[in-house]
């Protein structure tokens, strides 16, 4: 670890009604990977947004390369060498890799864009990073992992000295994460300062040198990664011990009836001849790598995307599901992996979102019975422990975990018998994760049946009664929890790739 390159001191930032950052301090040294951890809403993203000029700080100082600085926008920060690699990638799919990397500062030959030069320059960058990507490839043809590598290359091309990775691994496969780590280690060797935001404890242990923990907008402490245990960090984050053991036995009674039967479902390349059964009170895990077709299968069952063929039976009766409307009438609820886009209406209140799937039950004649609506919403705010001042709060003002709870409330209000949880804990902190696990177990006990799609192996092993594995659009395996292990599942998930 080298000298300090960036110091943020006593940073304070308030939004109306929220003290988002309460005199937080943070530093990064040259040649270190510094993890920034904390539950959702702890203020990590806000701190980084203050750093890169997206938010203006109320007070405090930022010292970068020995000088006090204040960036007014990301462009200024970028020019100075402070770059964020976002969780959501900001790439233009129809342009080539090189065009994306040099967007806004294209090489020119006269007035025409010099694509050849850009490809050469991009190739040099990739060489330096030991990344194998063709610069003239169209961006949308790359996997999410490769696209992220391009983001990194872009950051490097800005002569970055500090790179902030905001949950870089959320959408990556295990192999891609390994590759990412190789690059990060390379950057560390080149004396860059790296901030690594992630919820995945294993990664923190593997890749980072120091860990700074935040909680509720305050600075909790900084640890040297080697000298601390996973539990130390978690305790700093939440102040309680987390249980992460795999489930030992299926909780489903022997004679539990089949509530959902899917036969020979086909929907495009990503869903080929998928058949399975879901029993009452069961949590059925769907495992597989990114792009295995799990989400597509769920969306086809739910009627969100058209299907080509296949039969769906609910409680033994064949049903026709051509739209989400049909699916909801059949008692199916779907919690999307992408809450912001598919789960919530951010400009509406918690109460309004809670009844979105059930509004017809909260009517008084022609009019919405707002009192009953707020009542039921409050009930679920209480039982799910959603953190909010009131049910009239706009959902846009909630943190990720609390937004997820609103989506869950929406389907609980509907009282669906079959719930599809698609990556239910993505981007959610450890504490809220456990609450959601507990909730899912409780729902299963009450006789609800759950399909849980998850890319996290620990989550699959901890929650599922039975596991279905998919790979490239096909079902490649099915195991009961008693026989399941990381190895067997991984084996099935990669069966056709290698």
């Amino acid at each position: 670890m080298g000298e300090v390159i960036l110091t943020m001191k006593e940073i304070d930032k308030s939004f109306p009604g929220v003290h988002a950052l309460d005199h937080v301090s943070f530093e990064v040294r040259k040649g270190e990977v510094h993890a920034l951890m904390g539950e959702n809403g702890a203020g990590k993203s806000t701190l980084m947004k203050v750093l890169t000029g997206i938010y203006k700080k109320d007070s405090g100082t930022i010292v970068y390369e020995g000088k006090e600085v204040e960036f007014h926008n990301t462009r200024e920060a970028q020019d100075a060498g402070v770059v964020i690699v976002h969780q959501e990638l900001n790439m233009l799919g129809h342009l080539t890799v090189a065009q994306n990397i040099f967007i806004g500062r294209e090489f020119k030959k006269g007035i025409a864009i010099d694509d050849k030069k850009m490809n050469e320059e991009a190739a040099k960058l990739f060489d330096m990073l030991h990344i194998d990507i063709d610069p003239s490839e169209t961006m949308s043809n790359l996997t999410v992992g490769k696209q992220q590598m391009c983001e990194i290359a872009k950051a490097i091309s800005h002569k970055a000295k500090v790179i902030v990775f905001d949950e870089p691994s959320a959408a990556l496969t295990e192999a891609e994460i390994d590759e990412l780590f190789k690059i990060i280690r390379d950057l560390r060797k080149q004396q860059l300062g790296i901030v690594y935001i992630s919820h995945r404890m294993d990664e923190i242990k593997v890749i980072t040198d120091r860990v700074t923990v935040m909680r509720d907008g305050t600075y909790v402490g900084t640890l040297i990664t080697e000298e601390c245990t996973k539990d130390d960090i978690i305790n700093m984050m939440v102040g309680r011990v987390i249980y992460e053991d795999p489930k030992q036995h299926s909780m489903v009674p022997e004679n539990a009836p089949v509530v959902l039967k899917v036969e020979h479902l086909n929907a495009g390349r990503m869903v080929q001849d998928v058949s399975f059964e879901l029993r009452k009170g069961e949590i059925l895990g769907f495992s597989g790598l990114m792009g295995a077709g799990r989400t597509e299968t769920a969306r086809a069952i739910f009627g969100a995307d058209p299907k080509e063929s296949g039969d769906i039976y609910i409680n033994g009766t064949k049903v026709t599901i051509n739209s989400p409307e049909d699916a909801v009438k059949c008692g199916i609820g779907y919690l999307s992996e992408d809450r912001k886009r598919y789960g919530i209406v951010v400009q509406k209140t918690i109460a309004e979102n809670s009844t979105m799937a059930t509004l017809e039950k909260y009517m008084k004649g022609l009019f919405i019975n707002k009192r009953a609506e707020r009542g039921i919403a409050q009930e679920y705010v209480d039982s799910l422990a959603t953190k909010t001042p009131s049910v009239d709060q706009l959902v846009v003002n909630l943190s990720g975990g609390n937004q997820q709870k609103v989506v869950i409330a929406k389907w609980l209000v509907r009282n669906c018998d079959i719930l599809i949880f698609d990556e239910p804990t993505r981007g959610i902190d450890v504490g809220a994760k456990n609450e959601i696990y507990k909730l899912m177990n409780k729902l299963a006990e009450e006789g609800k049946s759950i399909i849980m799609i998850s890319s996290e192996m620990t989550e699959i092993l901890r929650m599922s009664d039975r596991i279905i594995v998919m790979c490239e659009g096909k079902k490649t395996g099915e195991v009961d929890i008693e026989e399941a292990s990381q190895e067997t599942i991984m084996n099935m998930a990669t069966r056709e790739i290698s």
Binding site: V345, K348, L359
Partner: protein
């Protein structure tokens, strides 16, 4: 300023709407000082005549804009309604009451057409409404054989429909218009239709994945819009008697201006009926004022054009600041 904005009464009424009311009053004072004989009842009644039909257009289009869509056909559809029903009245001897119903039906038909194409076929609303604008003009010309239609005078036997806007000097039209505004506000804020229309304007996919039939509700917004254009036609002819085929475009802009000025977001998801009402009054007063200052109608086109741009720009800026 911030303190004022947080005052509970101001919050209840809406800060923007209070500012708009201020603008309305200021404009009235300004025209009263500058214009000859502007102050007084006759000018107000004349401005109200303009506000009625424009108001119905604006109320209707508020629903469409709330879904994130747009309807550029409302002006010509209003003219088409007035021409088709007026032609039935004058040339085929259809009774007055039935003619008024026909007017509303023609509007509703166009609304259904637009709504179906937008919601079920996913044709962009901009294209659909531009096309149906021309269809409306064409239908009106064909139906009337390119003749203008004059509705009966107030003194004639069938002139009773004119009391829809005024009996003596009492503005009946204002009462009807405000009553419709209240109904629209209730629909938008207190019913399922309004909840879904606003929600799908904000995040269509999330609403669809909640099992809501978004096509139905989106289509409904266009039907309301078209129906309101049909009603607007009645108030237009009750005030101005004669309609000529081939016109009506300029009212699109004015109606949309009134709506956006009132705080309805072009991006969808946010709408204010109260704002629309005040916005309409401002546009109507503006047109009356411009005439009183001896400018030609052309200036009004320029000014409303600018108002649309400024109002939409203000909306964009406000949203950017929120983010």
């Amino acid at each position: 300023m911030e303190k004022l904005k947080q005052n509970p009464i101001v919050v209840k009424l809406g800060f923007n709407r209070i500012v708009l009311c201020g603008v309305l009053l200021l404009m009235y004072l300004l025209f009263s000082v500058l214009g000859e004989n502007f102050a007084g009842i006759p000018r107000i009644l004349s401005a109200l005549n303009y506000a009625y039909f424009l108001g119905f257009l604006s109320l209707g289009v508020t629903f469409v804009i709330a879904t994130g869509g747009i309807d550029f056909s409302i002006g010509p559809v209003m003219f088409c309604s007035a021409l088709v029903s007026g032609y039935c009245l004058t040339s085929y001897g259809v009774p007055m009451a039935l003619s008024l119903v026909i007017s509303i039906l023609v509007g509703a038909l166009f609304g259904t057409f637009n709504g179906y194409l937008v919601s079920h076929w996913s044709v962009p609303p901009f294209i659909v409404s531009m096309a149906s604008m021309n269809i409306a003009k064409g239908v009106a010309s064909v139906f009337t054989k390119t003749q203008s239609v004059s509705w009966p005078q107030g003194t004639s036997e069938q002139g009773w429909f004119r009391s829809l806007i005024k009996v003596g000097n009492f503005p009946v039209g204002l009462v009807i218009f405000l009553a419709f505004a209240v109904i629209c506000s209730v629909i938008l804020n207190k019913t399922r239709a309004g909840r879904y229309i606003l929600s799908l304007g904000s995040n269509r996919e999330a609403v669809r994945l909640s099992g809501v039939n978004v096509k139905k509700w989106e289509m409904l917004a266009y039907i309301i819009c078209g129906t309101m254009a049909g009603i607007a036609a009645i108030f237009f002819v009750a005030a101005y008697t004669t309609v000529q085929p081939g016109y009506g475009d300029q009212y699109n802009n004015e109606a949309i201006a009134g709506c956006v000025m009132g705080g309805t977001s072009m991006a969808g998801g946010l709408a204010s009926i109260g704002g629309t009402v005040i916005g309409v009054f401002i546009i109507a007063l503006l047109q009356e004022g411009i005439l009183a200052l001896h400018f030609t109608k052309d200036y009004q086109l320029i000014i409303t054009g600018i108002i649309v741009i400024v109002a939409v720009y203000a909306d964009v800026v406000a949203r950017r600041r929120k983010n």
